[in-house]
Symmetry: C2
Subunit: 107 residues, 2 copies
């Protein structure tokens, strides 16, 4: 997992913060399938993910329409429903427009 290479702003981001339930319950298999699917989505720019107590996955998108299209993706919708049923005790999704950025060592 590396820092995502993103273009000059503006672009969109979806911040997904979660607390997992215990056990895998099919989560890892779905996570792999989702990753394979998302990288082929129109407008997908990259993502970053980390988990210790909390899990944080931040994905980057070229525009709002691409964010909405991914939300309506069939596999993603199935994953969201299973997430509510089995994998997460809590989650929050925040959709935001990146206005500016700067980096160190990332160029």
């Amino acid at each position: 997992m590396m820092i995502a290479k993103t273009p000059e702003p503006p672009y969109y981001t979806v911040i997904f913060t979660s607390l997992r339930t215990t056990g895998d319950n099919g989560y890892s298999k779905m996570a792999d399938a989702l990753e394979k699917s998302v990288i082929n989505q129109p407008g997908f720019l990259g993502y970053e993910s980390a988990r210790d107590v909390l899990g944080i996955t931040v994905s980057y998108w070229s525009d709002e329409e691409s964010v909405r299209n991914w939300k309506e993706n069939i596999l993603h919708t199935k994953a969201r429903n299973l997430g509510r049923e089995k994998w997460y005790s809590e989650f929050k999704v925040r959709v935001a427009k990146v206005e500016r950025d700067y980096g160190f060592g990332t160029e």
Copy 2:
């Protein structure tokens, strides 16, 4: 570390993604001091953090002016400079305006 309780959008977020160098080198002490300082900043709404390979810290702010004021904070500026010198091999900061959000189990 819990999922941050944030108000109805719009509000601002700063996504800080990083790769650490090896060793503590005074990082933990500064992280504690920064946490004590940020919670008293005007406009600070909360933050979420996780680290495995990558570190991701997402902070939430009521408006852009609060984000800028925190960037100019003396302790924060010192931490950013030490970060470039000692603690991080790479980092990226993205400032974004949260337009919408939804949650599960967070109400």
